[in-house]
Amino acid sequence: MILEGARASTERRDKYRSQLVILWVVLCLFGLGGCTATTVQPEDMRLTPETTAKRQSQMRIFDTGNEAEVLVAVVAVLQDIGFLIDESETQLGVIVGSKERSAIQPAEVAASYTLAIVATLLTGEAVDPVYAERQTMRVSVVTTPVEEKNGTAVRVNFQRLVFTNKGNISRKEVLGSDEIYQEFFAKLSKSLFLEAHSQ
């Protein structure tokens, strides 16, 4: 009797352990077990060889000394691509905008629902699916007079915050690629009737 009870409890423990292992593997696969750096890394806040390359791809110079005109054209392009203006200071040449968009990727939603079903079956407790639901995309555009060339430099940066269906931030990242900057400046050139030059 005692022996049987012990065997049953060992079996139960083994079953429980195997379920935990599966859950752990699944969690790792979905990156929920990721780690975060809590201290400032030595490479933070340091200029790297990529800094210059990045600046070059984010920046163009337009052949006009009229910075105000460039800023107005920037607003037109930002409105074209759906950004709303959050902040601006013409004297500094700064414009900050943002927009909110859906972040739903059907594959991720399906995976999170399935994961929730599997986890519910394994643990016997209801597990809610968690997936990226919305994102806030942010842009900052800065203009600088380039006096020796009688031009105006324009630099653009993008970033985004992704929120889950539970309202938590699931991702914060810098956005932008050479193609994105290229397209942004192509729109700005069109709006200004001026060609964009790299430095």
Partner: protein, 144 residues
């Protein structure tokens, strides 16, 4: 364990179905490449027969307040005003920009965002420009 096997099969089926339908990339969303920007611009822009930019901006501010918006930002130098209005559980955000067109006109562009999307309903913009037109005592001309 049979339930797990079934779930795994379910994942594979749903996954395959979903991946094959495709989705909008972050890059496309960043530049709103999935919307018709020309069409959107034509419903968002009106011309007014005045050159008084500051008066227009002040009227835009007053109109936004009349329509229940609280202002977030505004600058005469840039000619923009932004505001937010709460509707039940969601919020509508708006940016209005004003700039000169030729010697005798101002262009006013309003862009709105509601529930994670740009507002693409011409009637919404029409109502805004009707309200603005009344407040500024000028007609709002559509431009091509």
């Amino acid at each position: 364990m049979r339930a797990i096997g079934m779930s795994v099969r379910l994942v594979l089926i749903i996954g395959a179905a979903v991946v094959s339908t495709g989705c909008i990339s972050t890059e496309a969303r960043l530049l709103d490449a999935d919307t018709s920007q020309v069409q959107l611009r034509s419903m968002q822009v009106r011309a007014f027969d005045t050159t008084d930019r500051e008066r227009m901006l002040r009227t835009v501010v007053a109109t936004l307040q009349d329509l229940g918006f609280v202002l977030d930002a505004g600058e005469v130098g840039l000619g923009t005003v932004s505001g937010t209005r709460y509707i039940d559980t969601s919020q509508m955000r708006i940016t209005v920009s004003v700039w000169p067109r030729g010697e005798s006109q101002l262009l006013v562009r309003a862009s709105c965002e509601l529930r994670r999307k740009p507002v693409e309903d011409p009637a919404t913009y029409q109502r805004f420009f009707t309200a603005l037109s009344k407040a500024v005592f000028l007609d709002a001309h559509e431009i091509e």
